[in-house]
């Protein structure tokens, strides 16, 4: 063999090996998005919510979803099933705002056309405080919008990576029964395995209210001027317009610990008020939308109910679940 032939062989072998691995990764469908897949079993390995929710969001066993971030993730699907009927999946993803959440909602709705019963949306600070850019530039943490995209092109681009190969091997292990799968219903109990310490919780509240989340909620990286348009509400309205009248939509304002509530008369208070009125407008224009408002001073906002300024304890989550069920309209 001479060098020119060697180079040709190298080129051909590299191209073939790369194509083969890429095709294998696509066929294994590491994130269970259903695109180009040869494996038709549902479920993914123990990924975080960002990577796992593409699989959960298209799982046909569910007809109802919880959308939001960590401030709504404590709602327990099995309790919601019992209280409201239907089959719930919790698609809350920590550290996300309206853009990411509506991307996930869109994915869920597209994969459940004609089979949606209830949608619960947590409208926390990400919706109500200082507006953030409604789009990828407004993300506080990187979000894989390509997993949830309508067109497969960005997915195809991102799948060309070593990480997707590794993820593919992990998924194969799950499919073959060698590794545990992530919970299909997405329930992620942040209290699990932790002992509640009121002093530690209070210290977190005093230090600005929120543990890792605070920078995100207090100061978005690049924000348009406050009080302007909230395109996320228009986008949400457009999505809800497309839903049949039989779907119950609950817009939930999760509670905050009392010291994390905006001061009366402050700019924060007026932002929250305008946010609530936008949600009410939505509810007025759709017969089956209800606003469930826990974002106010009261028994529920007492420090003993919270891990930090915005993450409440299980007992509060149970109250929210009950309130959502009580507000449910009589549906056709």
């Amino acid at each position: 063999m001479n060098w020119p032939r060697y180079c040709l062989l190298l080129l051909i072998a590299t191209s073939l090996a790369t194509l083969a691995l890429y095709a294998a990764a696509l066929a294994v469908d590491p994130y269970d998005t259903g695109r180009f897949a040869f494996i038709h079993r549902h479920g993914v390995p123990l990924y975080g919510q960002r990577m796992a929710d593409a699989s959960r969001g298209r799982d046909p066993q569910f007809d109802s979803a919880v959308i939001g971030n960590s401030t709504i993730q404590l709602l327990e699907p099995s309790r919601l099933d019992a209280n409201l009927g239907g089959s719930f999946v919790n698609l809350a993803i920590p550290g996300t705002g309206p853009y990411e959440q509506l991307t996930v909602l869109g994915w869920f709705l597209r994969h459940h056309t004609g089979n949606v019963r209830t949608v619960i949306i947590g409208m926390d600070a990400a919706w109500c405080d200082t507006p953030r850019i409604f789009g990828p530039a407004g993300e506080s943490y990187p979000f894989p919008a390509w997993l949830y995209a309508r067109q497969p092109w960005s997915y195809l681009g991102h799948m060309f990576s070593y990480k997707s190969l590794e993820a593919g091997i992990r998924r194969l292990n799950v499919v073959l029964g060698h590794a545990n799968a992530a919970r299909p219903d997405g329930y992620n109990d942040y209290e699990a395995g932790k002992a509640y310490d009121p002093n530690a919780a209070r210290a977190r509240m005093i230090n600005g209210g929120v543990e890792n989340d605070q920078a995100e909620d207090a100061a978005p990286a690049s924000a348009p001027p406050p009080g302007g348009d909230r395109p996320e509400f228009a986008a949400l309205a457009a999505m809800l317009d497309g839903l049949p009248g039989s779907v119950y939509v609950a817009l939930v304002f999760p509670p905050r610990e009392v010291s994390s509530l905006p001061q009366p008369g402050s700019q924060g208070a007026s932002l929250v008020a305008s946010c609530k009125s936008r949600a009410q407008d939505l509810a007025q224009s759709h017969p089956n939308i209800r606003v469930i408002d826990f974002l106010k001073d009261g028994a529920i906002s007492q420090p003993g109910n919270f891990w930090d300024g915005i993450h409440y304890r299980g007992v509060v989550a149970r109250q929210i679940e009950d309130a959502i069920a009580q507000a449910k309209p009589a549906l056709r």
């Binding site: 001479n2 072998a13 070593y162 543990e211």
Partner: protein
Amino acid sequence: MGLAAGVLWRRALPPMPTVLSAPLTFAFVVFAWVFFRSADLSQAATMFSAMAGAGGIHGTRHLVSILLAALIAFLGPTSQDVALQRLKPARWSAAAAALVLCLILLKLGDDTNYEFVYFQF
């Protein structure tokens, strides 16, 4: 300065065995590079002390790769020798190189890490 020391040594003293002379020359060159990299002498001094281990050694992974690379560099043939004399075009080496290239290509495609630890209650 290094060349002068070498010349003087050869004139006055018996030849040094390679086991000693090669690492000494290597260390001399590496330490001499520091002056080109430093803005001033105090920065050079900081780097010297770090190179001597004053900053501690973090993790064994880097240590192992450095030792492995050093072994290859000191005991193996020179790269010029490999490239021009020893390397012959062969199917197996093309296949091995193709596999490595393919993994590098895929590695280049890696993007952000989307997983992050969130709650630290």
